[in-house]
Assembly symmetry: C2
Homo-oligomer: 234 residues x 2
DNA sequence: ACCTGAACACCGTTCAAGT
DNA sequence: ACCTGAACACCGTTCAAGT
């Protein structure tokens, strides 16, 4: 998928540098396009404008390139999304992972790092469920599965355990992205709820839609799952 | 949100019926637009073509209406999505709910019904995490929260428990939607994985990406959560 | 090898106008 | 009250052409 068109040999642009003069300040206007630059610009644009804000034309503009130049480097917009997503999901595991005696700490660390990466780029949680997995995401999945296996989850239960944990991270991150609105929005939602009077008494009373401790929700749910897993392996 | 523009008084279309002749078969061409018809057509279109296939123009065509007529009934495309989504999430609770002694059966039934509704309309799982909650979804959330409360979850833990269960359903449904591909696709994915050789040994060996028992995965994860909840309430 | 503009077949939405 | 077409400001992508 990220098969990567030619890369590496994108040098020799000598002739062009002179036209713009000696200004060190000429930004990226003189840099040739490259997959790396395209991906970096995509992430910037997505961070700034969200999924709907990334447009092939805007992306090209952002790179000060002709509108259609991107198509030499990339097959289509879907590929741009895929590359941007995987770029943001890179995982640098601390060395100590796997050496600790506590598998649980390893798992919690990996998952919190994953969640943090997605929260830093809110569009990623929306994109991940509809794209193929890139190498960085596959790597995270591999490490997660390995950690659970090392923790003593039986082979027969390993996939269900892996998917359950994956689902929890995905669900929690997506949910937070959708409900972690501004205080104003939250208050408006609660008021709207109150207007319905008798229809939603429980979630009105518990102020469910006003949740503001998403980190806590994530942790508590994860604890339930991990407790279940460790009690089950006996 | 679903505030509903005028509805009900959409009768008197006497003059038009004669032009088309006596044919009983003249389909919807004579019916005036209405929110209900628009929503029904949206669901049809989404079922047939997916999220990307729903277009205001196509929707109008489908309704044999002028291209821009929809805008009298609806503010914008986002509202159409919201109405279609909530339409598909209606819940008809069986009467016995709440009378059973088994809270756990109630919860499991509600969640499997919810998941089944979303799987019947795969676009709904993609849409739900980015739209405001409509009345039907709020109703499901209310019933879920109430069931957990009745089950003995302490008020202080109720919201975290509700969100955890919600996250599991969302995550599991979205995941299945993304990975439950055809056999061909799955085999291709596994082969691609094998090509990476040493990079993903665990998920290659466990054939994680070839998962085909998504119902089982959903159930097992849910059991872990509910076990945790019932053990915690003591 | 790399980039470009023009062109095609679409979008969502506004608006002034029709009945 | 309800519907319409024309128009505006966009899209993604193809293609023949440039260097």
């Amino acid at each position: 998928m990220a098969a990567a068109k030619p890369t590496g040999t994108q040098g020799k642009r000598s002739r062009r540098t002179r036209k713009a003069g000696p200004s060190v300040d000429d930004k990226s206007s003189e840099m040739p396009l490259s997959l790396e630059r395209i991906v970096a610009a995509s992430v910037e644009l997505l961070d700034a404008q969200g999924v709907g804000g990334l447009t092939m034309r805007r992306l090209a503009d952002h790179l000060e390139a002709g509108a259609m130049s991107l198509y030499w480097h990339v097959d289509n917009k879907e590929e741009v999304f895929g590359l941007a997503l995987d770029a943001v999901l890179e995982y640098r595991a601390p060395q100590h992972v796997g050496e600790t005696e506590s598998w649980r700490d390893d798992v919690v660390h990996m998952l919190e790092d994953w969640r943090a990466s997605m929260l830093r780029h809110p569009w990623s949680a929306l994109l991940l469920p509809r794209l193929a997995l890139g190498p960085n995401m596959l790597n995270r999945l591999e490490l997660l599965s390995r950690a659970l296996s090392r923790a003593g989850v039986a082979d027969a239960d390993l996939n269900a355990a892996t998917w359950s944990v994956w689902n929890h991270v995905m669900g929690a991150t997506i949910t937070r992205g959708n409900f972690d609105r501004s205080d104003d929005d939250r208050n408006a939602a609660q008021i709207r709820l109150a207007e319905f009077g008798e229809r939603y008494p429980t979630i009105e009373r518990s102020r469910l839609l006003l949740e503001d401790d998403w980190d806590g929700v994530f942790r508590k749910g994860l604890d339930l799952l991990l407790d279940g897993l460790s009690s089950r392996k006996g």
